[in-house]
């Protein structure tokens, strides 16, 4: 079974998000998502300074099987994107919740973060998907 840390929030489309101490939100893809995609060969993270909307496709991860859009769970400005993924997309496979983070956004409305699934609800969604 895939790893679903209890302290993160999730989208059904398999993004995770963590609220940082400075009020920003770090975003990546879940362990389940990286397993389903297989070995990543390319990650395109958004440019710093870009404004993204909740539900907007703003990054792309590509494996030998498929290319998938990554949706932002919150509206706000991108304040950082993980430059290490340019040369080492495999970080998303080896450490999806750590070194494999994709972008950090300063949310305009924190309620959007709170509205995301908690670990339990995401696990239930995964169970329904793979029954």
């Amino acid at each position: 079974m895939s790893n679903v840390p209890a302290d993160l929030r999730y989208l059904k489309s398999h993004e995770w998000a963590r609220l940082e101490g400075d009020g920003t939100v770090t975003i990546g893809i879940s362990d389940h998502a990286q397993q389903a995609l297989g070995d990543l060969v390319f990650v395109e993270a958004p440019e710093v300074g870009r404004r993204v909307s909740a539900g907007e496709a703003c990054a792309v991860v590509e494996s030998v099987k498929a290319a998938s859009d990554i949706y932002s769970p919150v509206t706000g400005e991108v304040i950082a994107s993980n430059v290490d993924l340019g040369g080492q997309p495999e970080l998303v496979n080896s450490d999806p919740y750590g070194a494999g983070w994709i972008m950090r956004v300063r949310p305009e409305d924190k309620a959007q973060f709170s509205a995301m699934l908690d670990a339990k609800a995401y696990q239930a969604a995964l169970a329904a998907e793979t029954h």
């Binding site: 389903a36 070995d39 060969v41 390319f42 030998v64 099987k65 498929a66 998938s68 793979t130």
Partner: protein, 486 residues
Amino acid sequence: MHEKLIFEHAAPGRSADAQYPRVPVEATVPTSLLRATPPLLPEVSELQAVRHYTRLSQLNFSIDTHFYPLGSCTMKYNPKACNQYAMLPELLGRHPLAPESTGQGVLQILFELQEMLKEVTGMRGVSLTPMAGAQGEFAGVAMIRAYHRARNDLARTEIIVPDAAHGTNPATATMCGCTVREIPTQSNGDIDLEALKGVVGPHTAGIMLTNPSTIGVFERRIREVAEIVHGAGGLLYYDGANLNAILGKVRPGDMGFDVIHMNLHKTFSTPHGGGGPGSGAVGVSERLLPFLPVPIVGRDGERFRWLDQQDLPQTIGRLSNFMGNTGVLLRAYVYMRMLGRDGMQRVSEFATLNANYLMARLQAAGFEVAYPERRASHEFIVTLRREAREWETNAMDFAKRLLDYGFHAPTTYFPLLVPECLLIEPTETEPKEELDAFVDAMIAIRKEAETEPAKLQGAPWTLPVRRLDDVRAAKQLDLTWKPATA
């Protein structure tokens, strides 16, 4: 049976003099244009070259040698008669820029092909010039944009794409400068009409649909889809990827589509695989006629002539030099003339029958089908999620093991909606015995998955190369061979 590179057969100074140009190159090319260093060519004898390429040709997985159920690609048999007639010297010898007066025969063939494609798709006009499916798609969306621009309706920049559409559709919309709006598919395989109603509006340029869709089922509420999109001012684009399923039975024009591209290399049996060339002819409804790509063959009384920009001032323009892949168009023409109207109906009947027979037999053998409550169109999806979970043998392992059994693998991991999937399209040209042999192989492989999963995980075992490291291949692109010493 490993075949070395041709450079590895080489020895210094060896050559095949019989193949040299009669006149020395230095005598015909100005000195300033001559290479300072000779090109890097393999130094082999004529016999070595012949053996090398003959052996390579024997390693091919091709329709002429293997069952090739590559879903969504319609790898049907290409009748030899199509090649034979397309290679008549009168056709082979014609220059594309020769005057119309000396080429009335070819022009008549292309005109009749346009007419037959109009009839079979229910469209009002056809242009044969797109050189491949991707270019046909590009032409289609470019025409949709040109239509809105001509009406000064400049806000229409969004293309709606259901998640069960052909994978190239979002790419095409993006290439044409549009924004893609994805809408979900319901669990029964049909489009979610409520979601569609939610995204259409004054920004909608159109919707791109594949019907039957990439999950191998017919979109039953296509008329309602057309009403919703047309009602919002958008146009309907038909991706012809799966036209084989409905050939001669239902026409995209009658369903309400405004533009269609046809892959002549799928439905109309021209050779494909290995890079083409293909042909992506486009058909349009009345309102898109002025925007068709040129040239098109027109008829003035008894004479045929090329229609160009002066005839269609609003055309989206030319897509290539010359007039499309004429050699491919000729093969499609012969194919259609050989089949006739009744024959084309039998194509879709047998394509559908073969797919449903194969689906039923695999289901009976214990395989899980993705949309079991729906009748398959010309293709269907098997999901191997149970096999992946219980025995750690995934769809890729099954696909690779099929190669050892002498079958080309089905499409894997597409569409993305279904986990661990094989998309299987047998086409109408396979006999029942071949379908049964494929089922037997799938059953045998499933047994191996349960008892000796390593046999799948390490496959293929019998081919010239074993399992390739596709991750490394994608990361370290190395496309040019160089000698180790150079």
